[in-house]
């Protein structure tokens, strides 16, 4: 029981982490708190469903194609709806993303309807049996893929000039311009990464939680919470925050009551942020903007 809950919590936590990385990278690289971010994940679950179930693409190919398509949508949204905005108050831009998210949900309802859709699993086969717990192959693949994605992100930001340009723009936009880094390029870069991450996360989770046009808000709330809980300024913030949320969710549902899963997790986030406003990894007194 314990191990099974642990596996389920880790799976969900890593998916939240991957989504939260996208949220964090956009927030830091372009100063946009993207409330539409969850809708990209929801869109990914639906695209994966269509590619894998309707078109009949092999699941692995469907994940890749979904990630690329969602990445393109993400860049298009940035270019068409966020780049032209003439005001720069973060609050107005955040409300704009609320509008974009709502619009995207409208389009998804139009195309896929309100139904919960059952997407084909990534891998099939007998579950692994270990210490009396059975853990599905899909869970193992999901955990491994998410860890690989996080490792790849780490490499991008620690080893490539592209990643360092994004970091530079996040730390000091004026200094970044003096390095020949255009704001436009940075914004496209961060939306590209966020779209890819949302696409991968959505495609991976679709067979586990089903595909639905209504799932977006849960993802953005969890991503937002995971990013701030871990620490918005820390690379590992979303990873830590996502895992904490996923595990807390699974253990509350397993040992307390699945009905109070959401309130317990969210109340924990609120209390944790009151005690440590800069997140679990941030310094207690660090100023956050």
């Amino acid at each position: 029981m314990f191990l099974q809950i642990l596996a389920a919590g880790t799976t969900m936590g890593l998916v939240y982490a991957v989504v939260a990385f996208g949220f964090q990278i956009v927030a830091r690289g372009s100063n946009i708190f993207n409330f539409a971010h969850g809708e990209f994940v929801a869109l990914a679950t639906l695209i994966y469903f269509s590619l894998a179930a309707t078109v009949g693409l092999a699941p692995v190919l469907a994940v890749g194609a979904t990630a690329l398509l969602v990445m393109l949508v993400s860049i298009a949204v940035e270019r068409l709806m966020l780049a032209p905005v003439r005001v720069h108050e973060p609050l107005i831009v955040a409300i704009l993303t609320v509008g974009i998210g709502t619009l995207m949900r409208g389009v998804m309802i139009l195309v896929w309807g309100h139904d919960v859709l059952f997407a084909p699993p990534l891998v099939t086969g007998a579950p692994f049996l270990w210490a009396g717990a059975s853990i599905s192959r899909a869970n193992v693949v999901l955990i491994a893929t998410c860890l690989a994605v996080v490792a790849a992100l780490y490499l991008v930001f620690s080893q490539t000039l592209w990643g360092k340009k994004i970091l530079a723009a996040a730390i000091n936009p004026d200094a970044a311009r003096l390095m020949g880094i255009e704001e436009r390029t940075t914004r496209i870069s961060v939306f590209l990464i966020a779209g890819l991450l949302a696409g991968i996360a959505g495609a991976l989770i679709a067979p586990v939680t089903f595909a639905s046009s209504a799932s977006g808000f849960n993802f953005v709330l969890k991503a937002f919470a995971a990013a701030l809980l871990g620490g918005l300024d820390r690379f590992a913030g979303p990873l830590v925050g996502g895992l904490v949320l996923g595990l807390l969710e699974a253990f509350t549902a397993g040992y307390v009551s699945s009905a109070f899963r959401e309130p317990v997790v969210l109340a924990f986030v609120i209390i944790a942020l009151m005690i440590r406003p800069s997140g679990l990894l941030g310094k207690p007194a660090e100023r956050v903007t």
Partner: protein, 237 residues
């Protein structure tokens, strides 16, 4: 043809104008100091030249090309570099990262990049020793050297320095100015330096501009500046 030319420049922040009617021509290989009190518009002038703030009126030309509508990133690509006030380093990135980012506007080849790094490390040996250290752990003087080195990595033809000696111990100031002297004497670089404390800067430059209330109120040779007692008193204390 002047290397840099400003015509009737007016600039500032939001609706407020800090610079007014600035006309200025700087020839290639000149070394110029801009002096003036706090709030005279020196930093604003630097930021306007490099494009960190837009012009409200007027035009800027560099090597005969009009820059007025170019972004800061484009201007840097055309050979202007700014060492900004307060250095503006990226604390979590290493010295080497800074230098690589600094070379970004001119996109050098691998060999060209190595050669530039060598030049920087000859000029500032301490940066070679500390190339894997993050900017956050460098001393103030080392940070300033890194800021200058980062700007030089793009091989600019015009180097703008905004208060390079601010907040730095006197010995390190002399080191920094010694390095700037070397750079100038090796030729091919035009330098404009803004300072509040003029004594070091005056040893480096040939020409002095005085700013007051957002205008250039005096423009002359360093000798003329030295021979004017009132100016000496006002700016050298």
């Amino acid at each position: 043809m002047a290397l840099l030319e400003l015509r009737d420049v007016q600039a500032g922040y939001g609706p407020v104008s800090v610079l007014r009617d600035v006309n200025l021509a700087i020839e290639a290989d000149e070394v110029v100091a801009i002096l003036g009190a706090n709030g005279a518009g020196k930093s604003t002038l630097m930021r306007a030249i490099v494009g960190l703030i837009p012009l409200q009126h007027g035009a800027i030309f560099f090597q005969g090309r009009e820059l007025t509508r170019m972004s800061a990133a484009e201007r840097v690509g055309h050979g202007i570099a700014l060492v900004p006030e307060g250095r503006m380093l990226f604390p979590p990135l290493t010295v080497l990262d800074h230098l690589l980012l600094g070379s970004n506007p001119s996109r050098p080849s691998r060999a060209e990049l190595d050669e530039r790094l060598q030049r920087i490390f000859t000029l500032f040996p301490v940066l070679q020793e500390r190339r894997e250290a993050t900017a956050a752990v460098l001393s103030g003087g080392q940070q300033q050297m890194l800021a200058i080195a980062r700007a030089l990595m793009s091989r600019p033809s015009l180097l703008l320095l905004d208060e390079p000696s601010m907040g730095i111990a006197p010995k390190l100031r002399r080191d920094i100015y010694a390095a700037l002297g070397q750079l100038v004497s090796s030729g091919g670089l035009t330098v404009v330096v803004v300072e509040q404390d003029a004594s070091l800067a005056l040893r480096l430059v040939k020409r002095v501009l005085l700013m007051q209330g957002g205008r250039i109120v005096r423009d002359g040779s360093v000798d003329a500046f030295r021979s004017s007692e009132s100016l000496q008193r006002a700016y050298l204390g």
